[in-house]
Amino acid sequence: MSTRCAAALNAALAEALERWDETLLLGEDLADPYGGAFRITRGLSTRFPDRVLSSPISEAALFGVSAGLALRGRRPVLEIMFGDFITLGLDQVINHIAKFREMYDEQVRVPLVVRTPMGGRRGYGPTHSQCLEKLLVGIPGLTVVAGSEYHDLHRLLLAAIASDDPVFFIENKLLYSRFQQRGRDGRLGPFLWEEGDSTYPTVQLRAADRCSVSVVTWGGMAHLARQAAEQLAIEHETMIEVLILSRLAPVDLTPLLASVRRTGALVVAEEGTLTGGVGAEIVARVQHEAFSSLRGPARRVAARDAVIPAARHLEDAVLPQVEDITDACLAAAAGTEH
């Protein structure tokens, strides 16, 4: 397939608008000819003028308005222009959207999707480069999905829109211009390819040989993990399994646990800052479920606990790189402590 990720997402939105009259897109600058800051809604306001709404700059209210629409039978898809701005709506997310179904004792559902780009490596600086999924995964009632080029983004986004519960759909900014990478006949490039058949599957890329480390990752880091796998194979004769999650919460670690039982070693690679990251949750679960399989401590690769600088060389020093993954894998493969 030679579909760019941006096009896949655009097509999914178009399909949702076509299939379901209740679908609505809301967000800042969505309308044509602009079509959103990253152009993901391009063409849609022209085709569906009443259902693609460019809004004022009011993130907090947009979350609430979308939730109100969802509570009364609409199926809104809210775009938050930069993932950094979800912070403005977290009260609506935490104390309203995520709570309604359970707090109101199942009298309501909130079929709301929040799409938002996250991630750095574009030099956008401290307030436009963060990966903040860590803020979302611990909120009971939310589904958190992270797309990657290895997932069928069209299908993934459509599934999120079809869900009757609130879903955050995170799109790494670098994804947009990349091509979809999908396996064929169980292979993708030099790797064996496997994808579960769940709604939000975990994609596995692994060497045909026996692997000594399981790397779990998602979103924009999938690209780096794959590069690490190639480097490790070529330069270090170290084979790894790369597991690319699509749903971070509630997370299904079954494929990862099976992998860790095979490899005996775990590395989590995330773009967000280390402390309190999604990786911590994964490590806590895996060490609990597969304690005796682990030859050594699980390792986390993540951004430094720091502000993401604007200057590219400084940004590179803060964000996790391919080398950080290869280093962690080599240490994990060796089973050394620290």
């Binding site: 979350f63 609430g64 308005v65 109100g68 009260d91 109101y104 004792d105």
Partner: protein, 307 residues
């Protein structure tokens, strides 16, 4: 014409038979007694958690409810018992919820300030309900249901920015939303002038919401103003506001009232309830009160349960 419409119509005609006044009184009195009872239960240690009673503000809830149809939606806040009762009459479900029972509206999960029933929603975060209500109003419009959404907020809640974001969006996208500000002059322990600069009414108008105002506390006056406001939203399909100067006669929540006895006395003079009571035939009035007491007693018995 259903019951509510009939009563509303009678109210605006200045009903000669007193039927309207009686129904109005029945609504207010029942809420009043529920709220008093809740405070007693708390004082007796027979309720846990917290509660915010609407003592003194009951007429607002009843007046607005008289003008709504079943399809209309009401969104309310921490001080929501009156809005709920006026809207649904479901005394038992409410009491059961506050008492934490399985048969409560939300099986006891929500409690006093997190209520949900068909076309009725509340939440305990000041201001957060306003964008919700805006979205709901847009949904009704898109579905062509003809329903309007009424959201109740307190004057203190005008401190929350999301309220203005929502006004703006409601006006821009023509949401059939009625914003009722129950201006009781206080937010918890803070008098409104210490928390509000500028002009309350202008704050709605500056964002494109025409805004009515009721200064007096005559129940019928509130009823007329509510009718005008509801009617305006229904006819124009656009948002509007209504500010009601009202009075909180009880504590903010359970026992936290630091206002002086004199101040409370002045507020009690504005209480719509005794005035409405005085306008009724004494016998009919006693009959209404007795009926309400019976209902309350029955609901209390029915919801006797773990505290």
């Amino acid at each position: 014409m259903d019951w509510r419409e009939r009563v509303a119509a009678e109210g605006s005609r200045g009903d000669r038979t007193g039927h309207f006044e009686r129904e109005f009184y029945r609504g207010i009195y029942l809420i009043r007694r529920l709220e008093e009872t809740l405070l007693e239960l708390f004082a007796a240690g027979r309720l846990s958690g917290t509660t915010h009673t609407c003592l003194g503000q009951e007429a607002n809830a009843v007046a607005v409810a008289f003008h709504l149809t079943d399809a209309d939606v009401v969104v309310s806040n921490h001080r929501c018992h009156g809005h709920y009762l006026a809207r649904t009459g479901d005394l038992e479900g409410l009491l059961a919820e506050i008492r934490g029972l399985e048969r409560g509206l939300c099986s006891g999960k929500g409690g006093s300030q997190h209520l949900c029933a068909p076309n009725f929603y509340t939440n305990g975060i000041q201001g957060g309900i306003v964008p919700l209500a805006t979205g709901m109003a847009l949904a009704e419009k898109q579905r062509g249901s003809g329903a309007i959404v009424t959201v109740f907020i307190g004057d203190g809640t005008l401190g929350q920015g999301v309220v203005y974001e929502s006004f703006n969006i409601a006006a821009l996208w023509a949401a059939p939303l009625l914003v009722v500000v129950e201006a009781n002059g206080w937010a918890q322990s803070t008098p409104t002038p210490r928390a509000m600069a500028g002009s309350m009414r202008q704050r709605l108008e500056a964002f494109g919401l025409p805004c009515g105002m009721v200064e007096g506390t005559d129940a019928l006056e509130i009823h007329r103003a509510a009718g005008a406001a509801v009617g305006q939203v229904r006819e124009t399909g656009r948002p509007a506001g209504l500010i009601i100067r009202t009075q909180r006669l009880g504590p903010h929540s359970k026992g936290d009232d630091s206002r002086s006895p004199e101040e409370l006395e002045t507020l009690r003079e504005r209480d719509p309830l005794p005035r409405l009571a005085a306008s009724l035939d004494p016998e009919q009035r006693r009959a209404i009160e007795a009926e309400c007491e019976r209902r309350l007693a029955a609901a209390l018995t029915a919801t006797e349960g773990p505290l």
